[in-house]
């Protein structure tokens, strides 16, 4: 049990009366245990009662209040209201027709398609931007590090230390300094992707055949041209592998950004968690995250294949 330090007040909210409290700053996470037994949003008996109920419930279920919880809750209310107001005169059939499975609900996906799509686009955009920025930093840095051995230890060591810091902690450290929202998540993601890409770049460059480098030097290649035209193509498969790994783990990491209010699909997961354990919402968001990771991974694999035509004949 967590005691509030400032007041010394013991916050035990076991009775449902806590519903009407303002949702920012005064709820503890115990509130949500007190609302477990309330009806599922997707299994109402009547459309009219279900809408008003969901509306009434939403604020109280925002139990781990985030700075933007007001916004998220109100937006979820609007979605539900829109859902209700769009109903034809006799909308009961639609609600009766909902599947009984609380985990997989296609009607949830259909009804919330615009929101899911918006979150997915946010998620993908953040991932691509983060990986692109880290690649822009890590690949040149990797090339530099592999040229001067004395730099390798400190640079890789620093990156490894940053990588050890848990994502939640990093977001928590960055958020107060950079402001709530997209920026701290982006910076955190760049830091994590950095190590993966850096390590793979260095590993790739270290496997370049010395005979090939010698031959190129013998042909009169300068260091810059050697790097760009000889070493980089040899290291490309390893770099692509690093990019794929970084992308997949970044997609999974974005969801943690919910703690600072910008988590893409994680936002949906958490919203579902607060909305009285709306399982379909959590499950849909989780599956969408996995699917997004697979799609981006496949895209990078295809790009890798296009960029390394000389490897195509060999077994992967």
């Amino acid at each position: 049990m967590r005691r509030r330090r400032a007041t010394g007040l013991l916050l035990v909210t076991s009775s449902p009366s806590s519903r009407i409290r303002p949702d920012v700053g005064s709820t503890s996470r115990f509130t949500m245990r007190s609302v477990v037994d309330l009806p599922q949003p997707d299994g109402p008996t009547r459309a009219s009662t279900s809408c008003s109920r969901t509306e009434r419930l939403s604020p109280s279920t925002a139990t781990v209040p985030l700075p933007n919880s007001l916004r998220t809750v109100s937006s979820s209310i609007t979605v539900r209201e829109a859902m209700c107001s769009n109903l034809p005169g006799d909308g009961h059939d639609r609600f009766y027709g909902m599947p009984g499975n609380p985990w997989f609900s296609w009607s949830y996906v259909v009804d919330n398609a615009p929101l899911i799509w918006q979150r997915t686009v946010e998620h993908a955009g953040l991932t691509i931007e983060a990986v692109a920025i880290s690649a822009a930093i890590a690949i040149p840095l990797g090339a530099l590090v592999s040229r001067s051995r004395w730099l390798a230890g400190p640079v890789l060591g620093t990156a490894a230390v940053m990588y050890t810091v848990p994502s939640l902690a990093l977001f928590a450290i960055l958020a107060p300094l950079l402001g709530i929202g997209r920026t701290p998540v982006l910076v955190g993601l760049v830091v994590y992707a950095l190590l993966i890409i850096l390590r793979n770049t260095v590993a790739g460059l270290s496997t370049v055949d010395p005979a090939v480098t010698d031959a190129a030097r013998g042909l009169g290649y300068g260091p810059g041209r050697l790097l760009v035209q000889v070493a980089m193509p040899s290291a490309l498969p390893s770099i692509i592998a690093g990019l794929r790994l970084a992308t997949v783990s970044t997609v999974a990491l974005v969801t943690v950004g919910v703690v600072v209010g910008y988590g893409g699909l994680g936002q949906l997961m958490f919203q579902g968690f607060r909305n009285n354990f709306y399982r379909a919402e959590i499950m849909t968001a989780t599956l969408a995250t996995i699917a997004l990771a697979l799609v981006l991974d496949l895209a990078l694999w295809a790009v890798g294949r296009l960029l390394t035509p000389w490897l195509r004949g060999r077994a992967a």
Binding site: M1, R2, R3, R5, V24, G25, T27, R29, F30, M32, R33, T63, V64, P65, L66, P67, V161, T164, V165, P166, S167, L168, A169, L170, F171, A172, I173, A175, P176, L177, G179, I180, L245, V248, S249, V251, A252, T255, V256, V258, V259, G263, L265, G266, M269, F270, G272, F273, F277, Y278, R279, I282, M283, A285, T286, T289, I290, A293, L294, D297
Partner: protein
């Protein structure tokens, strides 16, 4: 929102208050809870992954499965799994321990597998020639040779679990993540920053201790290869 310097000052003041550390539900108690959860999760993961990995590595079967599992586990969002378990009725600490163990298994499995698989074939041949049974070869030859990789895997696993458990706070669980979640909820960003620093510090400290432990437990002849 206050200026960054103000937040930093708040964090320093908060961290310097002895009560913050020693009160019930303070940092020390939460850290203890955190470590207990870590220990359970790692123990569960090790009990599953090390025997499985050793057996698979010994028999040489399932290489594709192991690799696939490791890659697939990277794409799974930890937060989603924790929230799903919570929504399924498993609350707080239990859900987190299960999720953390779940994500720890692939790392340990792949390291044990590679360690046992990569044991010197000459040593295995010699052991077989001396009349050792499969079980003895595994326990007395392959596993000792795999120590380096298994202990490296354990270190990564433990650090990863320590890093995963703070997410529990979002699903109503315990551990040090609570400081961050509560600070966010009450908009006291100084506490958020301080919580982040405490969690990061714990992770780095544990990684450092384990690095030393890893060196001590690795038999001297194997150290060169590890370097």
């Amino acid at each position: 929102m206050s200026a960054p310097t103000g937040v930093l000052q708040e964090a320093i003041v908060w961290l310097n208050d002895p009560l913050t550390w020693t009160e019930p539900g303070g940092i020390l108690e939460l850290a203890g809870e955190h470590l207990v959860m870590t220990a359970i999760a790692v123990a569960v993961a090790a009990a599953v992954a090390i025997p499985t990995g050793a057996w698979l590595g010994h028999s040489g079967r399932g290489a594709g499965t192991v690799v696939w599992l490791t890659n697939a586990s990277r794409a799974l969002p930890t937060l989603g799994i924790i929230l799903l378990l919570a929504a399924g009725g498993l609350f707080g600490n239990t859900a987190t321990v299960i999720a953390a163990a779940f994500f720890a298994v692939p790392v340990l499995l792949v390291n044990t597998y590679e360690g046992v698989r990569g044991a010197d074939p000459d040593a295995k041949d010699a052991a077989r020639g001396m009349g050792m049974s499969d079980g003895r070869i595994l326990l007395q030859v392959e596993l000792p040779l795999a120590t380096t990789l298994v202990s490296a895997g354990l270190r990564v696993t433990i650090v990863q679990v320590v890093a995963t458990i703070p997410l529990a706070a979002l699903a109503g669980g315990g551990g040090l993540g609570q400081i961050i979640a509560l600070g966010m909820g009450t908009q006291r960003y100084g506490e958020v920053l301080a919580g982040g620093i405490v969690v990061a510090g714990l992770c780095l400290a544990i990684d450092g201790v384990l690095a030393i432990g890893q060196r001590l437990t690795t038999p001297a002849p194997l150290r060169v290869r590890a370097g």
